[in-house]
Structure formats: C-alpha cells, structure tokens
Amino acid sequence: MADELPQRVDCLIAGGGYVGLSTAVAVSASAPHLRIMLVDAAPRDAMHKDERASAIAAAARRMLEQLGIWHGLEEDAQPITEMIVTDSRTNDAIRPVFLTFGDASGASGEAPFAHMVPNKALVTALRAKADETNVIQLHGDTVAGFEPTASSMKVILGSGAVVETALLVAADGVRSKLRDLAGIKTVHWAYDQMGIVTTVAHERPHEGRAEEHFLPGGPFATLPLKGNRSSLVWTEPTGNAKRLMETDEFTFELELERRFGHKLGEIEVAGPRKAFPLGLTQARDFVKPRFALVGDAAHGIHPIAGQGLNLGFKDAAALAQTVVEADRLGLDIGSSITLERYERWRRFDTVQMGVVTDVLNRLFSNDIGPLRQLRTIGLGIVDRLPSLKRRFIDQAAGRGNGNPALLRGEAI
C-alpha cells in the first residue's frame, strides 16, 4: 500500500497482469507527465509463483524493445525458430507434417517469429519499468465501483479510498468485474474443453522447434524453453482434462508420453499442472465514457493459435497511442471521441481473431473422416503457397497495416 494515495490521476488501470502493466508502461514512457495508477488485487509477490511461460510474437517483442524492457528478458527468452503443425490421431506412431514455418538453420537471417518467455521474468521486468517510469502501483486493493461525471471518473477502491481519474482502464481478465460494473454485455460460449499447462524436461535439445499436433481431443502444443525443457499447452475435452488433473504422476506422464512421443528421448514432468476452461468471450463494446477494456477483459479466445497475449499487447499499444496522441493535442484522454478511436482500431481485429480460432478449433478438434481429409488438403495447400504463409507470419509478426506504432518498433 502506498503511503499517500493521490486524489486525482490521469489514468487508473485495474489489473496488474501483462496487459495492465504494459498499458501503464507504454503510456508513462511516452507521456511522463501523466499520472498513472495501477491497482492490482493480488499482492506484489503473487506472480512469483507462476511457473508458466508465454509466447511473445515478433510484434510484441518489438514493443518490449521500444519500451526498453526486452534487453532484460533476452537471457531468459527461448527463440522459436521453427514451427511444425500436424493433424494426427493420439496413437499415430508417425505424424505426417503438414505445415512448417520458419527455418531452423537460421540461414535466412530472419528474426525468430516468436520467443518463449517465463511469465515471472516478464512481469518482473514490466514492474521494474513501471517503477522506473513512476507508475503508482497499488497491490492488494481492487476497484469496487465507479461513476462517470462530466469531467472525470470517480473510482471507489475496495479499501474505501476514492480516486478521480480522466480514464479508467479495465485489464482485469476474461471474467472482468469492471466490465460487468460498466454494464457491458458479452458474447460468450464455452468450448467444453480445458487447456492443461505444464512444463516438460526432455533428454535431447528441441533446437528451437515448436510443434502443434491437432489431435481429436484438441490441439497439443509444445513450445521450447531455455535448456532441454518445453512448455505444454494441452487441450482436452473437459471430462478428460479433469481426470488428467486429478490422476497420479505416473498415469499423467503415461498419457503425456502417448502424445509427446519419444523423439526428444526420455521425458519428465517438470512443473505443476494447471488447467483452464476454454471459451470465446467478446465484449459488445470496448469503451464507455471514461472507460476502456483491454486484453482478455475485451476478448478471450481459444489458445489454438497462441494469440491471446499478443492481442492484449496490441490493445495496450493501441490504447496507449490513442491516449498519448490525444494528450499531446491538449484533448481529454477519457472523452468518448478519444476512446471511440481505440475501439474502432481494435474491435475488428479481435473479432476476426476470435472467429479464426473458433473455426480452427471446430475444424480440428474431432476425428470425423471427411473433415480430416479436408484439413489435410487445406494445410497442404497453405504449406505450398508461400505468399499465404508469408501473410500468416506477417500477421503474427505485426507487420500488417494499421498496427500501432509500438508494435512496429517505433516510439509513440
């Protein structure tokens, strides 16, 4: 708890995850005169227990570079230099590769299209930057309520303190409480699937290769970490997933081996198992007067394409740019004119990604014969069309048009 809470700030962010932190840092680094306050329900050391890692796409990496955070992460970051995609059954001994991205040899001289970064390192680096740029960080408190007035938003904290802000940003995750308080409705459906996340140690090096196997139960992805370790995102129907979560180490490892295979030698579970229900959530509005949603609070998607976090970074970059540019014109950063620009900027992109991941999941997470053949042909075509593949990679790398400045590696 800070000793003295300011009565008025320019931007109050609820949620201390990556998206909330990167929004705070992106604004404060570009407009140091704005007072930014971040309210996080969790105590400051809570994230230190997080053993997971996240895939940071090239665009998000450029943003972290621009904000001066990346250099501190590089040591812990494992580049993904190659990615293969297969469509197979769980017991298939040989899984034909349908799609490959990247070039493990590095001969093309291109930067890796993504890095695996431990969550702990990422949050620590973002927090250090937030400290350095004078973001007021309040831990163990929440936003209990808020009320817009003509010239500001009155925010009531769980501790009872009242803070006025020009703009309130909700970065409080897929089950956003602030979104509900703001009266923003969502479109939501559950997939009856859960994502199990854990870490696996293996005998032989992965050589920077990520794999995604479209199994009938859902996608099974392995993502390379530093050393002989990989992070797993293992999707299963809810019933199976719950059984897998409850089962003993031995059975879990056995099930894991059936999917992971033995191409990297002996394997061993090297981290806690965690499971998350999967669903698609899309907020009907991203903004209200003096209120904006970012990250999962605005859109939660299936992890099939590993894009959730990157969409969140993109929201942060777009909102920060909108806010900073309005401020530089002497305009009200919380006015609906300012926020509408952010909404227009981000909504189409996030809906599109939601639809793509939804369709992919429906198309792949099954064992229906004709669909299998259709996918085989589809993936084969994508693999043989360099221009289409290029577009997928460009998209992931943030080179598409209309990207926020930070994702292009430019200052706001």
């Binding site: 407009a31 005169h33 003509a150 010239s151 007067p289 309005a326 530089r328 014109l329 002497g330 305009l331 009200d332 006015s335 609906s336 004119i337 509408e340 620009r341 227009r344």
Partner: protein, 254 residues
C-alpha cells in the same frame, strides 16, 4: 434547452444563481462529446493536429514535447464554448478567446474554471480589437468567415492583428456545388449533424475571397489544405480536395 429562469435567491452577492445554472447547463452541452456539438468534437482532432504541427514547424518546436506551444500568443476569433482554446492552452500557448456572444464567453469561462485551463476570454469582436492595435503571434479564424456580414472587412481586421513573423489560419467552407450537397444538404438535412439553417450557401467563401484581403494587407499565402470526412472510418482527414472544408495558412513577413 432549459430557458425557464428562476428568481434569483439573494445570497449577499450580486451573482445571479439562475444565470449561473443557465450557463453551466449550456457549458455542459458545449462540452458533451456525445451531445449537440458532437460534430465539432469529432472535427476537433484534425484541426488541432493541423494547428499544432503548423505552429511547431513555423516556430521551430517539437510537437511531441510537453507544452510545445509555450510562449506563443494565440487569438481565437469566434471561440464559442472554447473547444479550441482549452486544448491550445493545455499545449502551452497563451490563448485569448473572443466571441461576439456574451453567452458563449460566459460558458467558455465557466468551463475553463472547472477544467483549470488558462484562457483569457473576451466578449468583443475582431474589428474593435484591431482598432485598439492588439497583436498576436497567431490569429485563428476557424469556421467564422462564413457567418460574418462583410468578409473583406473581417479578414482584414484579423490580418492586422498578426505580428511580423506570425501566422494566421482561416478555416471555412468553399462555395461550390459539392459543398452545397455535402456541407449543407447532407450535414443539415440527412445526417442532422448541424441544425438546419446553420450555413447559407450564399455566405460560403471561396479561397480567393480570403486570400485577397490577406495579401492586400501584406501577408503571404503558404498553403490551402482540404479537410474531408471519411464515412467508412467515421473520421475527418486532411486531403488535397478543397472543394468543401478547407484551411488557409498565411504568414506575415518578419
């Protein structure tokens, strides 16, 4: 609009509380981005960007700096509720906002008090100020010339207030068929952005009718920029098309 005036309650001062209520409700209307003046709010970023960037390049300032217009004196003629004055003041400029309407000036003052913006507001007109010999680094003439009785006299008066080495920006609507169709028929009758009768075609002003008095007074025309509405992105953008909305930039030699 509330027009019923309550009898003032005597509180020892000469301030009429019902007057203040009246003005503050008007101020709320002027400054509500989703209210009656929404079109003006939406138009504001594009013209503010133009003003800031033009002033920065002319006076050698960095547009990304904090308060980049510090020390520059600006006169905003026809300032209305102060939608342009306040952002300019927040960018550091020393701003004088002038409007012929006492009501507008009261509204603008009241809002500036609430927002903490430092702007000097005066209910007067360009001709009187010019006659008094007042001078500014920049004179802004945004969406006013199409409402005045005599364009020539008005533009000349504004030009006289520009210091040597200073600038003036005049923004208005061109007198073309396209403007009649878009700025009057579409904006007033179809989209209902503006109350009917806001603009009369005969009073719209062609660029040469502004350039004429400016040049006669010894100013150099630097450029004429169009401003166009894109219905797909629902935003205003600068363009080369000066047939409808345009801004003319002129400087006085140092």
């Amino acid at each position: 609009m509330p027009s019923a005036r309550r009898k003032p309650i005597y509180d020892g001062s000469t301030v009429d509380q019902s007057e203040i209520d009246h003005f503050s409700s008007l101020a709320q209307e002027w400054w509500n981005p989703d209210g009656k003046f929404k079109p003006l709010h939406k138009f504001n970023p594009v013209r503010l960007t133009y003003i800031r960037d033009t002033l920065c390049s002319h006076f050698g300032r960095d547009p990304k700096a904090v308060r980049p217009l510090s020390g520059i004196t600006i006169l905003d003629i026809g300032c209305g509720g102060g939608l342009l004055c306040e952002p300019l003041a927040k960018m550091g400029a020393t701003v004088t906002g002038v409007d012929a309407s006492e009501t507008n000036i009261e509204v603008a003052r009241l809002h500036a008090e609430q927002s903490g913006a430092e702007v000097e507001y005066r209910a007067t007109n360009a001709e009187t100020m010019a006659a008094n010999g007042e001078k500014f680094d920049v004179v802004l003439n945004m969406e006013v010339v199409e409402h005045v009785a005599d364009v020539d006299v008005f533009v000349t008066a504004c030009a006289k207030m520009v210091k040597p080495g200073g600038l003036t920006i005049v923004a208005t609507i061109n007198r073309t068929f396209k403007a009649k169709a878009l700025a009057i028929f579409m904006a007033e009758n179809v989209l209902r952005w503006l109350p009917r009768g806001t603009h009369q075609f005969e009073k719209l002003v062609k660029p040469e009718e502004i350039a004429g008095p400016l040049e006669t007074d010894g100013m150099d025309i630097i450029e004429t920029t169009g401003v166009f509405y894109n219905p797909i992105s629902d935003s205003w953008n600068r363009s080369n098309d000066t047939d409808v909305n345009y801004m003319m930039l002129a400087s006085r030699p140092a």
